[in-house]
């Protein structure tokens, strides 16, 4: 189901997803060869969007570092302008969400791909509302909070959350919590 979704609309986030194994390993070297090996198969399965994390690196002027959790891997990037982005990669190799924080939003059109239109439409739907928001759309749960100089936000593909995980508002939590 996740695969089918990803091959359709899901491809959009996947567009901003996995790098070629070579660049993935380059990004992972500082975290060790074993971590790199563990992470590679997922990206190999994904097969496409080879340049996407690499593209994000170019857009954001920084490099990804990887942290592996029990049911997903987080690719984390700190840009020199103070923006930080985390992309959440499922065991199946799909980027299923992202969180960011910094003085301005990241290039969401690059990070969301075809989901960007859905994001932008939802973000323009707020009425009588001036403040933080969490919105659920056809495919996404998206949020933004903060104030001048210190913003943060997130976007999750609801259908691609890994098993055992759910969203509390816009936060990723374990099912039992």
């Amino acid at each position: 189901m996740g695969l089918r979704h990803a091959s359709g609309f899901g491809r959009t986030l996947a567009k901003a997803s996995a790098p070629k194994s070579k660049s993935g390993c380059a990004a992972l070297r500082r975290f060790g060869f074993i971590l790199c090996l563990l992470s590679l198969p997922a990206w190999a399965v994904l097969g496409q969007s080879a340049a996407s994390l690499k593209t994000d690196q170019a857009v954001l002027h920084s490099r990804w570092t990887m942290v592996r959790h029990a049911t997903y891997t987080v690719a984390r990037l700190h840009a020199p302008d103070g923006l930080s982005v985390e992309e959440y990669i499922s065991p199946a190799g799909f980027i299923f969400g992202l969180q960011w924080r910094g003085p301005h939003p990241p290039d969401m059109s690059a990070l969301l791909g075809a989901y960007f239109a859905e994001y932008r439409h939802a973000a323009s739907s707020l009425r009588r509302h001036f403040g933080p928001w969490i919105l659920t759309t056809a495919h996404l749960t998206i949020s933004m909070s903060g104030h001048m100089r210190a913003f943060r936000g997130s976007a999750w593909v609801n259908a691609l959350l890994p098993p055992g995980m759910r969203l509390a508002g816009s936060r990723l939590v374990r099912n039992e919590s």
Partner: protein, 389 residues
């Protein structure tokens, strides 16, 4: 010689007065909570701002319906509200534009220069952003790619402008003085219709006008009366300039909550700590946590980011300043749709979602005097950035 000495002493006394105790300057600016100039706002505090062409005392305009925002810095005005012709900021004949993100929109437009008058205070030659100027270059992709909506009309903003009086003096700060990848894409250099990110010196950035005053320049107090559980149609209050500079702006018994360098503090609720929390008069409710964490249902679309409990919830949270100072806050959250249906505009119990943090918006300000002290400025017994109430 005696007269000369006396004159010198008097002059010294006067300048000392001007910086610390300027009893002769009117520092009280009226504010009002109402539906605003688009007749569609709830929990927004509005004021009137007089602007003049730099150095002129006659080429001036007073603009009403400007939202008072303690979460941003600087004056931003809709082009549709400004009839005055103001000089545009330019570098090497390239015009300077700005893309400033807010949490639910962004503002795009040229930076112009004006003298700003508030009560008896003046911010001379201040950088002002003009929003929605159709004669200026359109927003570049580096601005629109953030995904929120660009404000360009009165019906979008619900106000004729935004008067930012936050804990920060500059709207961007040191980051915008850098170039290349370290530049956060907030200021742009525009040649014709093409705009590219540029570095902007601190002095040229849009600034909190209060910090540009000759006196009463270390912060601001927003003061609003209490409202009943069903709200009020309109409410009048005051914006008082300066903290501890005149007899009407002393801290008194207010508790000081220093912010961190991001302009945030921590809120504790139900045994959990939520960093990245803040006080912001420009947010129109109390935005906190999410529906499942707070145990409060949200409203149906299009108000899904507001809370709609069946019965009003009475809650307690604890604000914790960056130095550990703490204080409990009792607050109530009513059904937002029920509140909107009253037709009133001023509510102390309007709430909404904000995963993982608290945003004490205008609803928090009723029945309080909330002090906002500017970063690095001594203000009473402490130095900004801090909030006190």
């Amino acid at each position: 010689m005696t007269w000369t000495l006396l004159a010198a002493l008097l002059a010294a006394g006067c300048s000392s007065n001007a910086s610390s105790n300027s009893a002769s300057v009117n520092n009280v600016q009226a504010i009002a909570v109402n539906a605003g100039p688009a007749q569609n706002y709830v929990d927004g505090a509005f004021t009137s701002v007089k602007i003049c062409a730099p150095g002129s005392t006659s080429n001036c305009q007073t603009i009403n319906g400007v939202l008072v925002d303690s979460g941003s810095s600087g004056l931003r005005l809709l082009a549709s509200a400004v009839s005055l012709s103001l000089p545009i900021q330019a570098v090497n004949s390239n015009q300077i534009g700005e893309c400033l993100p807010f949490v639910s929109f962004y503002t795009w437009g040229p930076i112009e220069t004006a003298d700003i008058y508030l009560a008896g205070e003046e911010a001379p030659s201040a950088a002002v952003q003009i929003i929605g100027d159709s004669t200026f270059a359109s927003a570049p992709s580096a601005c629109t790619s953030g995904g929120t909506t660009g404000i360009s009309t009165l019906s979008d903003l619900g106000a004729n402008g935004i008067l930012g009086v936050s804990v920060f003096q500059h709207d961007c700060g040191a980051g915008c003085t850098l170039s290349g990848g370290s530049n956060p894409n907030i200021y742009f250099s525009c040649s014709g219709s093409t705009c590219t990110a540029t570095s902007e010196p601190l002095d040229s950035q849009v600034q909190n006008p209060v910090g540009l005053f000759a006196q009463d320049n270390n912060g601001v107090i927003l003061q609003l009366p209490t409202v009943s559980a069903n709200g009020a149609a309109t409410v009048s209050g005051n914006m008082i300039f300066g903290i501890g500079t005149q007899s009407n702006n002393t801290l008194g018994s207010a508790t000081i909550f220093p912010t961190n360098s991001q302009g945030d503090f921590t809120v504790q609720y139900n045994g959990q700590s939520y960093a990245s929390s803040y006080i912001d008069s420009g947010s129109n409710g109390i935005f906190f946590l999410d529906s499942s964490t707070a145990g409060i249902p949200t409203c149906p679309s299009p108000n899904a980011s507001f809370y709609c409990p069946a019965n009003t919830q009475n809650l307690t949270a604890t604000n914790v300043g960056n130095d550990g100072t703490s204080g409990a806050v009792n607050f109530s959250i009513a059904n937002a749709n029920d509140l909107f249906n009253t037709g009133n505009t001023a509510f102390d119990n309007l709430g909404g979602v904000n995963s993982g943090s608290f945003d004490w918006g205008l609803a928090f300000f009723f029945g309080r005097k909330v002090y906002t002290a500017i970063n690095g400025r001594p203000a009473g017994k402490a130095t900004g950035p801090y909030w006190a109430y």
